[in-house]
């Protein structure tokens, strides 16, 4: 979109190819279950943050409710596998479908709200979703329910989940890359800047927002379903935990809102950090350190870690040719 994107395209491509190779080979080399588990968590969060970023980062519609799609995805898989004997693959795909339907219903109503009102509405719906599910006795109420075990042996078990989660994260990322280059992504950016002007420019803002919201619900639905099958147990408190929404927001802000790399950096850093901190300094300090890091990033890199290079470069650069206009004429 901007000229900077074309700088040294090959280094970027080689880096991406190497990263993909690393991800594919990782479980073959590292066979410790613990590290595979961390990697799966990272992929889950990458999927969630990438998805959240579409309405949140591109269009400026901050959602606290994406955990709804994650939780409903989990319960869809639970219901289909436990009560209807559906296989895991179809159940997980159905979880994505359920998320789409929910996003269509909920999005076309809530996206009429703007800014903070939208954020509160999404939060409310996520909480309502949790309460409703928690009060259905067939689904185990607050205690939740167990899911059928995967057919794989304990030693091998993590590997299929690893690849499935990696695939979902990659699909979510690739989707965002394509959307970013499409009219949709481009118009969402305009809409974030000035929604009325976007409407005055001929953009059907409602349609664009709802479509974006639907796409952003699909992947959390899928990954929520996958996660449920992976853990083997779902309950309202865990699967609808507002912590998911909060973590996603923190990771996005840390990595860089509205970018493609930001969610990857944010999710990876925070999941890894959380693991490292919990056995080095203990979990009681962990959240404090989180907060500190976030405060520092917000102050010094308001556009996230991804903007690090750019920020350093612009500080070093001599004040370049100024637009005479910006300083003298701009009077409003």
């Amino acid at each position: 979109m901007k000229a900077t994107a074309t700088v040294r395209p090959y280094t970027g491509r080689i880096a991406i190819a190497l990263a993909c190779l690393l991800i594919v080979l990782f479980p073959l080399v590292v066979q410790e279950r613990y590290y595979l588990h961390i990697a799966i968590l990272i992929f889950i969060y990458i999927t969630l943050v990438q998805s959240w970023n579409l309405p949140g980062g591109f269009a400026g519609y901050i959602s606290f409710g994406h955990v709804l799609f994650f939780g409903m995805g989990g319960y869809t898989v639970g219901i289909l596998m436990n009560f209807l004997n559906v296989g895991p693959t179809w159940a997980i795909l159905a979880a994505g479908g359920v998320a789409i339907v929910l996003a269509l219903l909920f999005g076309s109503i809530s996206l009429r709200l703007r800014g903070v009102y939208f954020a509160i509405a999404t939060l409310a719906v996520a909480i309502i979703g949790k309460l409703v599910i928690g009060n259905i006795d067939v689904l185990g109420g607050a205690e939740g329910m167990l899911l059928p075990l995967s057919p794989w042996s304990i030693e091998f078990e993590k590997i299929p989940f690893y690849y499935a989660a990696a695939g979902t994260a990659a699909a979510a990322t690739l989707t965002m890359v394509l959307i970013r280059r499409s009219n949709l992504g481009f118009r969402l950016l305009a809409l974030k800047d000035d929604e009325d002007k976007a409407e005055a420019s001929g953009i059907n803002t409602t349609k664009h927002k709802v479509i974006a919201f639907i796409i952003s619900a699909f992947f959390p639905g899928i990954i929520g379903g996958l996660h449920a099958y992976y853990i083997g147990y779902i309950n309202p408190a865990a699967n609808f935990s507002i912590l998911y929404s909060a973590n996603v927001l923190v990771m996005a802000a840390f990595g860089g809102i509205g970018t493609i790399g930001g969610p990857i950096i944010g999710a990876t850093t925070f999941v890894a950090l959380s693991e490292i901190l919990s056995y080095s300094v203990g979990s009681q300090f962990r959240l404090g350190i989180y907060g500190l890091i976030l405060v520092l990033v917000t102050i010094f890199l308001p556009r996230g870690v991804i903007s690090l290079r750019e920020t350093l470069r612009s500080r070093r650069r001599a004040p370049r040719e100024q637009l005479e206009a910006t300083t003298s004429e701009r009077g409003d």
Binding site: M1, N183, A200, K207, L323
Partner: protein
């Protein structure tokens, strides 16, 4: 007036359009026509309802009473983007560009295509890009094409916004004070540009306080005062109308 353009079709027709805000009648029973391929000026003191009228025609306000026709189609219940699809586009009095998008990207935003398939097309259409770059050269803004539009001066943003309205196949362009806040040389440039686009078949409805510009380019002028239409006619007629003079200068 009517006699000379008898054969010309009507681009826009307002029929007893009214809008009130609480006790204020911002637009009160206003009716007029804008002939196809003409330049129509909308003048009046501050608070006379000009911008409200723009908001009604572009769909940002719902009217209380009356009807608005574009060609033969009634449009007063369409959402703003639907009116753009029909061929009406507007600019804002307080200039509005997309500050974080580059100048060239700003020009790529206006659209008439909201079909689902179009959402997933690449945003980098080359034909539109060429058109955008042409317009920027014309405006002398070419060297700023990759600059975020928010960094531009007020006058430059005004030009960008104007250029945005020329990017799509719009027939009726509504400009809210196109010459406000830009330097005199540029005012002449904007004026020439509007004339050129008129020759390309476009119709203009223009709110303007600069009387030189208004008298110079408009085929017809409508004067609003306290939300009511005070006068309507050719520039020469309006200039000498005692009622208009009193509304503007007297009291």
């Amino acid at each position: 007036m009517q006699a000379t353009q008898e054969r010309a079709a009507t681009a826009l027709r307002l029929d007893r359009v009214s809008k009130r805000f609480g006790g204020i009648r911002a637009v009160d029973e206003v009716s007029f026509d804008v002939q196809d391929n003409s330049i129509c000026g909308l003048i009046g003191p501050n608070g006379s309802g000009k911008t409200t009228l723009f908001n009604l025609v572009s769909g940002f306000y719902k009217l209380d009473r009356g009807e608005i026709y574009y060609g033969s189609e009634r449009i007063d219940r369409l959402r703003p983007h639907r009116r753009v699809e029909r061929g009406i586009i507007r600019t804002f009095q307080i200039t509005r560009v997309f500050p974080h998008l580059s100048v060239l990207d700003n020009l790529m935003i206006p659209t008439c295509d909201n079909r689902l398939a179009a959402l997933f097309h690449s945003a980098l259409g080359t034909r539109r890009r060429t058109r955008g770059e042409e317009l920027l050269s014309l405006l002398g803004l070419k060297r700023l094409r990759d600059e975020p539009a928010g960094n531009l001066s007020f006058g430059q943003q005004k030009l960008v916004e104007l250029a945005m309205s020329f990017m799509i196949e719009t027939r009726l362009i509504m400009l809210d004070e196109p010459s406000a806040g830009i330097n005199p040389t540029l005012v002449n440039q904007v004026r020439d540009w509007i004339r050129a686009e008129q020759k390309n078949g476009r119709t203009f409805l223009i709110i303007e306080h600069n009387m030189h510009v208004v008298m110079d380019i408009c085929d017809k002028i409508i004067v609003l005062h306290h939300g009511k239409k005070l006068a309507e006619g050719a520039p020469a007629q309006i200039q000498d109308d005692p009622v208009v003079l009193e509304a503007y200068l007297g009291g």
